[in-house]
């Protein structure tokens, strides 16, 4: 279970498991909703809703409009806020090897609080998206007995954002 923006932490943790009998979940940023306009997306869920394109030298999935203009993406987590995704992840999603999913801003914030309170760990807002998805998926039966969440970073850097949201 890894949060996925551009996909470097995600591909890093997935890599040793690709040949194993292990489910892989790429948790993208659902932002404030899965809506898009001609110019922007309220989310950054490229694997979930992007289309084939070329961005920054990569042939991959991209958030774009019908003319190929790149959409302004959005997420509470700056590290997930990207309109493209690594091509290796796009390939694994296309072949069905990994499951793209997403958590919303508000769900990530809740998960951030939970992990702080229950474990004394301050997770990065990026990583909080993965924690949030585990919380959701725990009740749907899509998870096995053992779940690995990649806590890709510390949340000290995000305290200002989180405190700001609380006001």
């Amino acid at each position: 279970m890894a949060c996925t923006g551009g996909g470097s932490n995600a591909m890093g943790i997935f890599h040793p498991f690709i040949e194993e009998d292990v489910d892989l979940f790429a948790v993208e940023a659902g932002g404030s909703g899965m809506k898009v306009t001609d110019k922007e997306a309220l989310h950054s869920a490229t694997l979930c809703s992007g289309e084939e394109g070329i961005l920054h030298g990569m042939h991959t999935k991209v958030l774009q409009n019908k003319y190929g203009q790149i959409l302004e993406s959005s997420s509470i987590a700056a590290g997930l806020d990207y309109a493209g995704v690594g091509p290796e992840l796009a390939y694994l999603a296309d072949t069905g090897r990994l499951k793209p999913c997403n958590s919303m801003d508000a769900e990530a914030l809740d998960a951030f609080n939970d992990l702080c309170r229950l474990e004394g760990i301050i997770p990065a807002l990026e990583s909080s998206h993965a924690v949030a998805y585990v919380k959701k998926a725990a009740s749907t039966g899509e998870l096995g007995d053992v779940v690995v969440i990649n806590l890709s970073g510390r949340g000290d850097k995000d305290l200002e954002t989180v405190m700001g949201m609380r006001k």
Partner: protein
């Protein structure tokens, strides 16, 4: 008009070419028609008409701002080809855009649209030659030139490939970094002009803004200069734009012609 015909014509007169870039639709499609006419009056030999892309990685702040004005003014690939097709100019037109715009439209359709609207060359700064085979195939079939860029950092191996496959002219990137007007001519620019040995015309861009620089570049062995940001700056000011575009084109053309 074919790009090679234009360069041959200038070669006979022993004159350097002025290639003028503006972004189509900046700030509106109608303004573009007026501005192109002004540039031609000033002496532009080739017009490079940008087709705006939201993430122009090769462009500096000046052209980025122009692209944004164009997108806000409603420029799309459909409007672009209509605008280009309605230009009544008798010099070559070249499109500069980024690969996702071409990819999304469909490579073949894009090239055919170019041919149908009088565009004789394509510049795609984010398409490396190694990945260009498919687009080059459609270009060759439709008699449209695929123009490649050479930077000071281009390896000898890649340069060799660009010189064999590049059509129209070779676009020499005068300096590292993005587009934007500068006052001087870098030593590395002269070195690059010397390093690139080919019978295909060589045009230098990135940072040229006045006639003195243009003359220096032509004197150093280039066949043309490409000027963008200096024109886009005038458009951004919104003041007396056609007359000032024409005056700057005249200054640059005089420089390129004496060089």
């Amino acid at each position: 008009m074919k790009i090679s015909d234009k360069f041959n014509e200038l070669k006979k007169k022993k004159k350097g070419a002025l290639i003028a870039y503006i972004c189509a639709g900046d700030p509106s499609p109608d303004a573009t028609k007026e501005y192109v006419t002004a540039l031609v009056r000033g002496g532009a030999d080739i017009i490079e008409l940008g087709l705006p892309f939201s993430d122009p990685t090769a462009d500096g702040p000046t052209i980025q701002a122009g692209i944004e004005r164009a997108l806000n003014g409603g420029m799309t690939p459909d409007v672009y080809f209509r605008t280009a097709g309605s230009l009544k100019v008798h010099i070559p037109l070249v499109v500069m855009t980024y690969y996702n715009i071409i990819f999304k439209r469909g490579l073949e359709k894009f090239v055919k649209d170019c041919a149908a609207s009088g565009i004789s060359g394509i510049i795609v700064p984010d398409l490396p030659p190694e990945e260009s085979g498919e687009l080059a195939g459609f270009c060759n079939k439709n008699d449209v030139d695929l123009i490649f860029l050479v930077a000071p950092t281009t390896t000898d191996e890649r340069l060799k490939r660009i010189l064999t496959e590049g059509k129209g002219f070779i676009y020499l990137v005068a300096r590292l970094g993005v587009t934007g007007a500068r006052a001087d001519v870098a030593e590395s620019t002269r070195a690059l002009i010397k390093r690139v040995k080919t019978t295909t015309p060589k045009a230098v861009g990135f940072g040229i803004s006045n006639g003195k620089q243009a003359a220096e570049i032509i004197r150093s062995g280039a066949d043309g200069v490409i000027v963008g940001s200096a024109f886009v700056d005038i458009i951004a000011s919104g003041k007396d734009v056609p007359a000032r575009l024409e005056a700057l084109a005249k200054d640059l053309k005089e420089g390129a012609a004496q060089g």
